[in-house]
Every structure is written in structure tokens, then in C-alpha cells.
Symmetry: C2
Subunit: 343 residues, 2 copies
């Protein structure tokens, strides 16, 4: 691996946290190719997806980095080197991966990843299609099966997915649908409604209107599960009324305000938060569940049970295309995933 | 059953919601003996336990009742009549029971109960010992096994029980201990610490001092489960630090203030509320789980796996003894359960 030490690579990064309109907010840079440690692999990046977390991590602040900060926590590529302790991955393997928010990411020709983040790329998908999936898929899968604890007994039950056209929502809808749940989505624009219906939602209500009323009109007085992919503060009272007794609510997005827990009590409601990186950041005993989920997502993408939510590819990976992608995410008009590919 | 229609019974009730110092807050009254419907039984009350919920329901307010309000949602007795649809209970059966907060209760010679609230009294316990257990036991059992979802895989894990000397806490401690968990309790007075240690807590920390610090001193940096039997608002930040990643927190007591959900996110924490009456009030599909739990508690009391938390018996059941019991509960100095028995 020492051959990489002296080598450099192209990347897109920054030193100052600036608005995306500033050309220095994301810059073309050249940095050393990182070297994998024992449990790590070096991946040649083929495609990198852009997520809201990228724009949040780039958000304007006064802090200055002495070393370039490189974002990108979702991507695909080919393993070119591995640490001694890595057993299930080999150089030459085509992979897709999530990433570690604390480290430099895949907006670069090469990225070093802990093996826990990496699984085999679905063979039937392009690098671009595959790159769009890991972060949102692991989040959606964990939300449904590890947080809401949906299991065999829940087939036929109903889940309300707030913002079902979003990154996590559009995959959670597909997973829940494929598992046998009735999926009620929410969206507001016609094109979001269409996208959501094409990605697992059995029907879609408008989250800018009264949710309870619309559910009733569709024959649902209550739902068994709710997955919240938008500020729960805005929906708190509705959620409390809509959820069934002993129901479960999973929050993927933080609440912007303080909430009253009292309404949880009468119905013995469960509220659970989902953070994709919990297992890895806290190095939990079940850390490799992350990888298992990603391999399962790969299998489902290959079998067609799950389809890629990729809607836009921009090439190549460089500062001006990445700034364009960040602008699109920040506009909140984007439907589906943006992927950048090639150098 | 018509023989009861014309008959009257002694009871303790009220028409106005008054401070316990007022003699009219709980009065000796004579009312008609209620008649069981198809799914109900009529029970001759032998003993009735007093819980904090009784004092809360009696709390001073301007409302006036036109019919006497009779409290008491925990007791024991003998079935004297049953509705046609009742299958598993028979007249003559010695039973113990929880109650329906919306209806009149067991501070009376007779009480009508939906069969779901009633199970067979543990044969090795007195009516008084048995009467002390149903409400707190079902709450504790549901909290551990139906809300925190503690199962075989959790044996050896750690639970922190806030207010482990309290009604629910002292039974949850016993249940968790018997199930194979490490039980950390909290109390502040020496006599509460002793009571908690005698009822399942492996060790007890002081909830008036820093919880995190005390846990660390006892070799626990984090706990897998937390059962909160005291205002969670007072402990919120501590709870968020003490709970393990992917840990579960059950709230038995409401939060007195609004809370910030953000700290749930990084560790993907589950927060669940427990209300004993959820299944019955909402008539859920699994309503009879309530009765199953009460029968299991009866079995555990007979086998000695669980012991009664009764500490004080007052006789007979009449207005002045019941006012004394309410005063003791309101003083918050009571340790263990108060039961009134006999007429």
C-alpha cells in the first residue's frame, strides 16, 4: 500500500465553511491518497451521491480547517487495497458504501473506508444507480426493522411515511410495501406525489393539509406505524392523534422545538430516533449489522424488490458540478437522488 | 342477579372534589349494589389498595358529581355473580383485580368489574397482601416486557429504575431481578434505600445527587434500560447521557415540562410511555394480555418469585380510614402499599 503514500489524487474540498454561491465553498484540490489501516479498504471512487447531510456539514460558520475537508458519504467504486484484518472484501471487488461523517469522504478519486461501511455493489445496477442508495437505504431499513421493529406479525398493518418522496422516505416506502405493509405517503407537489407512488406508496396525502382529515377520507382513522422524515415539531399533535394505541413512531429528522411527551401516555406510544451512524460511532456490539443491511439492500436491488432512487447524474466529479448538486439539494426542489460520477 | 338490584351497600365516596382535610372529601355513603353486564363480574370486596391515582382523581376542583364517585382501582375479594359471557371466572372464586378509572371502584362492599381486570388471587397470600399488587404489578410487568421489550437476550443487562422504592418501582425491581437483569435503583431516604434493596434492587443510588457520577463510581458508565417512575423532566439530560446507544427508556410518570428530543438521535434511543389502562380503554385486539399478566403475577406471588409490597393495613373500609390513607399517600412519605380491609 505504500505505493499510494507518495501519490496524489484529485478531490473536491474546502477550508472555509461558505455559502454555496461562493466559489471557495467547494474547490478543486489535490491531496495525498489516503492509506487504509488494518480494518479499512481503499476504494477508487466511481460515483458519489450528494445528500442533505453534505450541505449541513458544509453550512456557513466561522471555523477554518487547516487540512482540506472532503465530503461525500455515499458512493460506489472498486477496491484497490485493503488492510490485513479485512476478510470479506478483496481488491477488485465492486462495492457501494456509506461513510463516516467524522472523516473525509468520497468526493475524491479515492476514499478510505472502515470495512463496516462497505458491501458488494448490486451487479445489475450501474455505479451511478448504486451510489444513490447506501445512506438512505440503511437509514430506511434500520428505521423499519431495527427501530420500529416491524416483523412478520405486522404484515398487513399500516405505516404513514411523512415526506415519502424524500431520500429515506422513498426507500422506506418501497421496503415497507415489499414487506407487506399498507403504505400511506405524504407529499405536496404533483411531481413528488407521482414519484412517491412510483416508489412504494399505496396512496399519498398532502402534508400541507390536515393529515388526520385526509386519512379519515381514505378510510384510516389510525395507523400502526409512523416514519417521520420531516421536522416532527410541525406534526406533533397530528402524530399523537393518528397513531394507534401501542403504536410506534420513528423520527429520522430532529424536532425543531421542544415537545410535550404527555400525549404519549394514554396510548402507551413508542417514540424512537434513527441515526444511521449510531452503531459505528459508538462501536456497538452489533456494529456489523450495518454491513449486513447494506448487503441485503444490494440483494434487493439486484432482485428488483427495491429500485434505485437516482434521478440525476452530473459528470465529472469536480468543484463546479458539486456546487451545482449542493445548490439543488439546498433548493429543496430535488426529487430523487443526485449522483456525480467520473474524474 | 336481580336479588342485588333492590339491595344497597356501604361505600366510601364523594360528590365534591375537596382537600383531604375536609370531612366531605371522602364520606360514608349507602348506594345500590351494581349489577354485572354480560362480560362483567360482581365482586364482594375484601380489601382495597390505595394508589397515587386515587388522590389524583380526588384532586380539588370545582366540578360537582350528581351521583357518588367511588374510587379504588386495586383490590381483592370473592366473586358473587357473573354475566353470561364470562367463562373463566365463577361465583365463589377468590380474585384480585385492577380497575377502570372511568367507573366506580372498590372502595365499597361490592364492585362490578369487566372480566379483563380480574384474575385469580394468589392462594398463599392474604386478601390484604393480594390487594396491594394488581395495579402496580401490571404496570411494572407491561413496562418491562411489553414496552421496554425485555426478552431472553437481555438477561445480564442492566436496568436503572428511577424511584425503585415506589409502587411500580419496587415491583419492577423484583421482576427485573428475577428475570436476570442487573437492577440499579434510586431512592433518597435511608428507609427507602432499605425497602428498595429488600425488593429487588442490587444497589441503590441517590436520585437527589448526580446519577451519572454515582453510576460511574459503581462501575456503570451506561445502562441498557431505564424505567422512570418520577418526573422525567427532572432527569432528562442525565437520562440521555446514561442510556446506552440503542437503549430504551420507559416513562411511567408524565414529564412536567417540554423536552428536547434531539439527544435521542445520536444514540438512536427509544422512548416509550406506559399506561396500564391503554389496552382496556382503547379496547385493543390484545386486551386480554392484561388478564394474562395478572394471572402470571398471581403465579409469581404464589411461587415466591415476587413478594407483596404491602406495608400497612387499616381496618375497616370507611371514610375516616380512607381519608387517613389518602393523607399518607399525599404526604409522599409512604413506603410500600396501604390496604384497607373489611366493613
Amino acid at each position: 500500500m505504500s505505493k499510494h503514500l507518495a501519490k496524489t489524487m484529485k478531490a473536491v474540498g474546502f477550508y472555509k465553511y461558505l455559502p454555496i454561491s461562493d466559489v471557495n465553498s467547494l474547490m478543486d484540490i489535490v491531496v495525498g491518497i489516503p492509506v487504509p489501516k488494518a480494518n479499512e479498504v481503499l476504494v477508487e471512487v466511481k460515483a458519489t451521491a450528494i445528500n442533505p447531510i453534505d450541505t449541513k456539514l458544509r453550512a456557513t460558520k466561522s471555523q477554518i480547517e487547516t487540512e482540506a475537508r472532503i465530503l461525500g458519504f455515499d458512493g460506489s467504486g472498486i477496491i484497490t487495497a485493503k488492510g490485513d484484518a479485512v476478510k470479506t472484501l478483496q481488491p477488485g471487488d465492486h462495492v457501494f458504501f456509506t461513510g463516516d461523517l467524522r472523516r473525509n469522504g468520497s468526493n475524491a478519486q479515492y476514499v478510505v473506508l472502515d470495512e463496516v461501511h462497505v458491501a458488494h455493489k448490486p451487479t445489475n445496477l450501474s455505479f451511478e444507480q448504486a451510489a444513490a442508495m447506501p445512506l438512505t437505504s440503511v437509514t430506511a431499513y434500520e428505521s423499519l426493522f431495527d427501530r420500529l421493529l416491524i416483523n412478520e406479525k405486522d404484515k398487513g398493518k399500516t405505516i404513514l411515511i411523512i415526506n415519502s418522496a424524500g431520500g429515506v422516505g422513498s426507500i422506506a416506502s418501497q421496503l415497507a410495501n415489499a414487506y407487506g405493509l399498507k403504505v400511506i405517503g405524504t407529499a405536496s407537489r404533483p411531481e413528488s406525489v407521482d414519484f412517491s407512488k412510483a416508489h412504494g406508496a399505496h396512496f399519498v396525502v398532502n402534508h400541507k393539509q390536515d393529515l388526520e382529515q385526509q386519512l379519515k377520507e381514505n378510510g384510516f382513522s389510525e395507523v400502526d406505524f409512523i416514519l417521520v422524515n420531516y421536522d416532527p415539531y410541525k406534526y406533533w399533535d397530528s402524530l399523537m392523534r393518528i397513531i394507534k394505541p401501542q403504536g410506534r413512531i420513528c423520527l429520522v429528522v430532529d424536532s425543531s422545538g421542544l415537545v410535550d411527551l404527555k400525549p404519549l401516555k394514554a396510548k402507551s406510544i413508542t417514540l424512537v430516533s434513527e441515526m444511521m451512524s449510531t452503531r459505528i460511532v459508538y462501536n456497538t456490539d452489533d456494529k456489523y449489522r450495518h454491513t449486513e443491511i447494506l448487503e441485503e439492500v444490494s440483494r434487493m436491488l439486484d432482485s428488483g424488490e427495491l429500485k434505485s432512487t437516482l434521478t440525476k447524474v452530473i459528470t465529472p466529479i469536480k468543484a463546479d458540478t458539486l456546487r451545482e448538486a449542493h445548490r439543488l439539494i439546498e433548493s429543496q426542489k430535488m426529487i430523487g437522488k443526485i449522483v456525480l460520477s467520473g474524474f
